[in-house]
Symmetry: C2
Subunit: 219 residues, 2 copies
DNA sequence: ACGTCGTACTGTACACCGTACGTTATAGCT
DNA sequence: AGCTATAACGTACGGTGTACAGTACGACGT
């Protein structure tokens, strides 16, 4: 008796339920460990039941990404534009830190979907209202977005490594074994490099650099 | 007759040969399609032969990453530091564009290895020589690196999508279907957003923003 | 010239994966 | 009550990484 599961009643599934469950699983077990079969098991359903609602795994990923982007930051009204930009970028970073799978979802597939457009709308609106021309606004938006994506993905990556004791030990070991005649500056700055990896301060440092550059070109 | 392969003579494999072949395969068929079994087949060898030289797939990825980083840019001597930084960042971007798998290799695993340290040494050396203090140099290095990584990964991602006609058509379709009352700025700037996605100009725009910010804080 | 020994490669096997295809049974409509 | 559209199912295929045990060959000491 292989513990036959009774047939699941109809209409117990829905796109929303699937997306929520998928998200929960990704956050519990890690994005890489996520699988359609695991998701189906969690839902108490055969693997193929998912395909009634999503054509394939990538389409499910897109849905999860869009679901998360809906939680993205609003633009605070009535503040100077540099503060508005800071708020949006910090909000997006915050969202990525709270949902680490978002970093991988964003990196792995291009943007699309309403919620993603909502985020772009916020940033672009700020830039246009601040007086930037169309091309500069577009370029700045892309720059800010890729900066947040790159910086935060990296931060998440390192944090994950830090939590894996064996990998972290190996990283420290190779760092420590670098010849200080071949790489004098790296060896000298090793403490700073380690200390300044990740964290709000590091993120704000880069963000402020970009905004300072922007204010300068804006006169 | 299942075309039995004669036993491969010993010592026909080497870490270098494996890494080079793996890199060739990743660039020919795409990083995602790369597999140990495919690599072994290309080498005319059983899949398990690889494990004599690398403990697992991730370790092989690390080796390929380090192999590619060895091709990274040198710091040009005798130039003002902003130009040196520009040269190194552009060189890294160039390397990532020439070897698109590098983006995924860098995003997926943390840095380690001599060749990666070499790249850090170059940038950090420039910053220290320019008079930045230890902490600022470390922070700036991380900022620049994650900026290049994020911007170029994104660029590669979009370019891949553009080459996939079906996916590209769908992206244009969802872009075109955005209600211009809900997302007025996105719709208005759609041409600019599309035109300014990727390319040297977009990259240099962001890079110059960072450097301008840096020059300002440096007085 | 000849054993012998370490090890580079092999074969088999396992536990997974995504998903194509055809089937079945039930929710809701007539 | 009967019909039908379709949600969930079972089976199967071709793929994956890699554990583990076996085998034959290159090199080396005698």
């Amino acid at each position: 008796m292989p513990a036959v599961r009774p047939r699941t009643p109809r209409n117990t599934l829905s796109p929303e339920l699937i997306v929520r469950t998928a998200l929960d699983l990704m956050e519990a077990k890690g994005t890489d460990a996520f699988s359609i079969r695991g998701l189906a098991a969690e839902l108490g359903v055969g693997p193929m039941a998912i395909y009634t609602y999503f054509r394939n795994k990538d389409e499910l990923y897109d849905a999860v990404r869009d679901h998360l982007m809906a939680l993205g930051p609003e633009v605070p009204a009535g503040e100077p534009w540099p503060d508005q930009i800071r708020a949006v970028c910090r909000g997006l970073r915050r969202l990525m830190l709270q949902h680490p799978c978002l970093a991988q979802l964003l990196a792995g597939r291009p943007l699309s979907g309403h919620e993603t457009a909502r985020m772009a709308e916020g940033l672009l609106g700020v830039l246009r209202a601040a007086g930037f021309d169309a091309e500069t606004s577009a370029r700045t938006h892309t720059t800010l977005f890729t900066f947040v994506l790159g910086a935060t993905s990296w931060e998440i990556q390192i944090a994950a490594e830090r939590r894996n004791p064996e990998a972290w030990r190996r990283l420290r070991a190779t760092m420590g074994s670098l010849s200080s005649s071949e790489f004098p500056t790296v060896v000298e700055l090793a403490p700073e490099l380690s200390r300044t990896t990740g964290g709000d301060e590091q993120f704000d440092y880069g963000l402020d650099l970009l905004i300072a550059g922007l204010e300068q070109t804006h006169h």
